[in-house]
């Protein structure tokens, strides 16, 4: 016992070389930094390759023939791509608008009122699109549309998108509301604002960053969706991801890289903006 207590501290100091003692930092592990570097390379190299070859002047998506914007010119003049892009934009805009309004109303209730009956079940239903596997949602929605006989063309896709956009819009809005001091609303009412004015002048302006960031995420999720759109879309409602999927199956040319790169840039800009707005106090 005595031996141990005396020996342990001394062995600690004897065993550590002076160099390692100098650099010994609590909680650091060798190799973790390198793993992180490899992780980021793994994450980003494919994206860089994709973008670089969109500027290839030759026919190959993987053999470099020199810099050229010819595939960009071709892609931008492709009527089908334009039509798909317009479809994607219309679907995303409408689905996002509806989903964001519904999510804002729901989060005002769920984040602001005391516990009530049906709170947990409402919350579970709101989160369902995140839990059910996408492929299941896709075929279930298809079954539903065929059962009801709903043939609204692009409208069917908009309905399906609205459903899964709701939780994505909901989460940032609720997070913002939870971070907001609820006494602010009480203060407004104490200072003679009625409920509507308290919402209009205090809650809404403070909630705005959350709403914008929720809407942007919903928009991106809608623009990027593939499986559900693949299953529920009918002729004439092809979106960009569906078009890209079709191109991949027909054979690979740098034109796919061009469309993909443009979509990537759009996503990155959107997410960066959403992130910056969401962080703003």
């Amino acid at each position: 016992m005595t031996n141990q207590t005396i020996a342990a501290p001394s062995s600690k100091s004897v065993n550590s070389r002076s160099a390692s003692r100098k650099f010994f930092k609590i909680g650091r592990f060798p190799g973790f930094g390198l793993t992180t570097l490899l992780f980021f390379l793994f994450l980003y190299i494919p994206i860089f390759i994709l973008v670089i070859f969109s500027f290839n002047s030759g026919r190959s998506a993987t053999i470099w023939d020199g810099f050229g914007l010819n595939w960009y010119a071709k892609a931008f003049n492709n009527d089908d791509i334009q039509r798909a892009a317009i479809n994607s934009a219309i679907i995303a805009l409408i689905a996002t608008t509806i989903a964001t309004i519904l999510a804002t109303l729901a989060s005002l209730v769920l984040a602001r009122s005391r516990k009530f009956k049906g709170q947990n079940i409402s919350y579970s239903i709101l989160m369902m699109p995140l839990i059910v596997p996408e492929i299941v949602t896709a075929v279930a929605t298809l079954s539903f549309f065929s059962f009801v006989g709903l043939n609204l063309g692009i409208g069917n896709v908009i309905i399906a998108h609205t459903v899964f956009c709701i939780p994505f819009a909901f989460m940032p809005i609720r997070a913002r509301l939870q971070g907001m001091d609820s006494t602010l609303e009480q203060a407004a009412m104490d200072l003679y604002a009625n409920e509507w004015k308290a919402f209009r002048y205090v809650t809404f302006p403070l909630l705005m960053p959350g709403i914008i960031s929720g809407a942007m995420l919903a928009f991106i999720i809608s623009i990027d969706d593939f499986i559900i759109t693949l299953m529920v879309s009918q002729a004439g409602s092809t979106t960009l991801p569906l078009y890209i999927y079709g191109m991949v199956r027909m054979g690979i040319t740098p034109e796919i890289n061009v469309v993909s790169s443009v979509m990537l840039f759009m996503s990155i800009i959107f997410v960066s903006l959403s992130y910056l707005i969401g962080r703003k106090k």
């Binding site: 001091d181 006494t183 602010l184 009480q186 203060a187 407004a188 009412m189 104490d190 200072l191 003679y192 604002a193 009625n194 004015k197 308290a198 002048y201 205090v202 302006p205 403070l206 106090k281």
Partner: protein
Amino acid sequence: MPETAIEVRNITKKFGVHTEHEVTALDDVSISIKDNEFFTLLGPSGCGKTTLLRLIAGFEYSTRGQILLYGENLIGLPPQKRPINTVFQHYALFPHMTVAENVAFPMKMLGKDDGETKKAVNEKLELVKMQDFANRKPGQLSGGQQQRIALARALAPHPKVLLLDEPLSALDLKLRQEMRTELKNLQRETGITFIFVTHDQVEALTMSDRIAVMSVGKIQQRGCPTEIYEKPNNRFVADFIGETNLLEATVSKVEGNDIFCKLSDNIILKGEGETGKNVGDPVTLAVRPEKIALSPISEQTEGSFTGKINNSIYLGTDTTYIISVNGKSELASVEQNSAVGKVRFKIGDEVCINVADNAIRILED
């Protein structure tokens, strides 16, 4: 006789009614607060003082009872319809508005015109000495400055009653001391009734005209600061406010208002209290340490008794002695160190104990 500003009548507030977690926050509480009074609700956290304040403000609905403002029933009125404003514990300043916009907010909500709003904003910012900060955002201000803005904002519409929910608790000690005086002055200058909630006895004693001490949803005692301090009714009040010696004794003789209590065979003390105690009843006595004077054993006088110093704690301006009497009861005595010719006692010294006249309180329970 001044008019009654707020009359709380038999208010009961329960949370979680019809659930297994039912809690009674306020149990049949009645208070009347006079016009132009600085009234303090004092008590430990969870005693119901903040709930009472929120009921007066209109943020909560009472389970039973009435609240009257100058004779008018407030029950059922939402907060925006009550001419009562609150200074919140963490100020609740709107972060997206400037200081001036914050102060102007209630005026705008009341539909006042621009001229009047501007005048009120300038006046109130001047009142709290913050006119140079009108265009700042609350985030750019220190805690003390935010506190002043919260005051200015709540005072701008000239409410009939101002509620203050532990407004000094977020400030550091020095600032807190300054703000105490300032709040008191502000109340005198504006002539508005203040209802102040705190758990800090010093705040309550220094600022208030009257205090209500609360515990477990009930009012334990109400009165002016000296009454509360010098004449506590019960064990809770005696213990919660200041330091106190609590002694167990039995009543040996009753002579009008004077009740003689036997502490032990040779010590009989004269106490005061509005209790209907009879000879032989057990009672609890409360004596403040500063009312107990010590002198060397050689200077024994009539009515005093002896004890032995068990411990002495030096506190700068004064010294606290812990004395054992008859080898069992312990008493604390505070002696000022500045007194001329004061003898300092050592641990183990035998001393003579003198209790000041009228210093012994017989408690209700």
